[in-house]
């Protein structure tokens, strides 16, 4: 009798068809503007954590964790939208560094006064889902997910200063349908997959990697490293990439992921300022850019090669 193969996807390359297998250092060489090899992408997540978190799919780190009503975590997260974000924006503008703002739909719906101020910055808006209790996950019915994406984009469009083309899922979680649904909704690129240091094509979109391992939330709140240690790690990453770029010609992206509710606290912001000072000091070797500019340059380079 015939038997189902035990390892049906055991084959050369990937075990899915979302993107082909590719090693970074075997790809065609290109460079960023002015021959630079390191693009710097700073992304600031602006998130809302509802008090009545249901945790469908899963509860992300930072969600309510005490018995209801968890005023403690609700207000600590809300602090980011009231205060933390303004410290970060000021630190960026003092150094003239571009960034993107990953904004959740419910944030602008709840806080038009914040949306107005975010829209007045030079930073690019990225859609960041509805809120931190609206996960995209395997098991979420497709129609619900489609509606979630639509609602997010419709709401953000009312406030965004430009058409939104990028997407960062809450807690970077996707279902099997997310990429397709994003494409159908007019999104051109996402930042959920952390598997590269260059943009690449994925299921009709482009993925722009945004390091998780260097993220403020991950290093400080999950790994429990000191704020100064986080800053050390970012500086070490910059210096390593600079050294590497002297020996290897490959263009790379350094994605720095920040959260208003994490690094915007009074006792943390000085460490971000130190990091930004370091990045500014190294700007001759870096290309600080917003994500759409990075993608556009990459696409042009792909077409040229």
């Amino acid at each position: 009798m015939s038997k189902e193969p035990q390892y049906p996807k055991r084959r050369y390359g990937m075990d899915h068809d979302l993107y082909p297998w590719s090693m970074l250092e075997t790809r065609p060489i290109f460079s960023w503007p002015e021959g630079k090899r390191i693009a710097l992408w700073i992304n600031v997540a602006i998130e809302h954590f509802p008090l009545d978190a249901k945790g469908r799919g899963f509860k992300p780190q930072g969600a309510m964790s005490m018995p209801y009503p968890d005023l403690r975590h609700y207000t600590l997260r809300d602090y980011g939208n009231r205060i933390g974000i303004f410290r970060i924006l000021e630190a960026l503008s003092q150094r003239g560094l571009p960034a993107s703002l990953a904004v959740q739909g419910e944030v602008v719906e709840r806080y038009p006064a914040l949306a107005k101020r975010l829209a007045a910055t030079p930073h690019e808006w990225v859609a960041h889902g509805w809120n931190m209790d609206s996960m995209h996950f395997g098991g979420l019915p497709e129609e619900e997910e489609r509606a979630l994406i639509e609602r997010t984009l419709m709401t953000l469009r009312r406030f965004a200063p430009h058409p939104i083309t990028g997407w960062l899922s809450p807690a970077r979680s996707q279902s099997h349908a997310t990429l397709r649904l994003l494409g159908e909704a007019g999104i051109r690129w996402c930042a959920d997959w952390v598997n590269d240091e260059q943009p690449y094509r994925i299921a009709g979109l482009i993925n722009l990697p945004l390091s998780l391992e260097l993220e403020d939330r991950f290093v400080i709140l999950e790994n429990l490293h000191a704020e100064s240690e986080w800053a050390d790690q970012v500086e070490d990453a910059v210096e390593f990439l600079i050294r590497e770029s002297r020996e290897l010609p490959h263009a790379r992206v350094l994605g720095l992921s920040l959260h208003a509710w994490v690094i915007g606290h009074a006792h943390r912001i000085a460490h971000l300022e130190r990091v930004l000072d370091h990045l500014e000091a190294r700007s001759a070797l870096l290309w600080p850019a917003n994500p759409s500019a990075i993608i556009a340059h990459w696409q042009a380079a792909q077409e040229a090669s």
Binding site: I83, R87, H267
Partner: protein, 304 residues
Amino acid sequence: MKADPGLYDYWPWEGRPRIVWPGGARLALWVAPNIEFYELDPPPNPFRKAWPRPHPDVLGYATRDYGNRVGQQRLMRVLDRYGIRASVSLSTAVLIHHPEIIAMGKDRGWEFFSHGIYNTRYVYGMSEEEERAMLAESMALIAEHTGQHCDGYLAPALSHSEVTIDLFAELGGLYTCDLFHDDQPTPVKTRSGARFVSIPYSLELNDTIVYVVQKVEPRRYARMIKDAFDRLYREGERSGTVLCIPLHPYQVSHPHRLAALEEALDYICGHEGVWKATGREIAKYYLEHYYDQALAAIAEENAA
């Protein structure tokens, strides 16, 4: 269940009206030791266990009892040295269990406010009547044993209900320490419409959060407080800020940890323009001078 506690409106940090603290100070410092009593054998709460081990959790109990037996006096010496009058977040059963500690605090002009009856009695599962009775009893105990009106509240073990803050405002309280959304006092909306405020309690600098939850080393704790101070002191020039140092003598007063607090206080108290206040003094000053201005500014911000 509510998606939003409905206690305050959005108010961006940017562009707020200026606050100036007494004497032209730009930062109000208040130090809030939690003087607590944890029961050896509390009744079970269906929503939260008091102790991780089967009762008696000797290790957990003794860890906390150390604060009252050893930590209090050690901490008092430090606060005395810097001329700081503490604002005590009090498990009000301590008034009866350990009156000696209360007497020492009274001698120093300390403020006492309610932190419930015991830190092993959570609000979870209480009816509104039961919670009101607990709050009223804790306030009455403070009045009876210290002669002070209880103006502030920090819920026991940060356990809340949907009406916790409404109830405290109705019972005559002036300020809550349970909201961590801001670095300035803010008006709080309660169902009675009372003039009532949130005073920042800086939970991220709370020694228990720092040492137990975040697993921070003592020297980094000093650095965190100094970093927070530097930022709030700078921003306080624009509009006065509040820095709270929440403490637990059972955490901070250990021989390997107390020098870190001293280092931070030494640094802070070496600056001009720091108002060494109590929670009550900050609340009253704000209510008198800035509360109405804040209401107007918040309404304007959210009107557009």
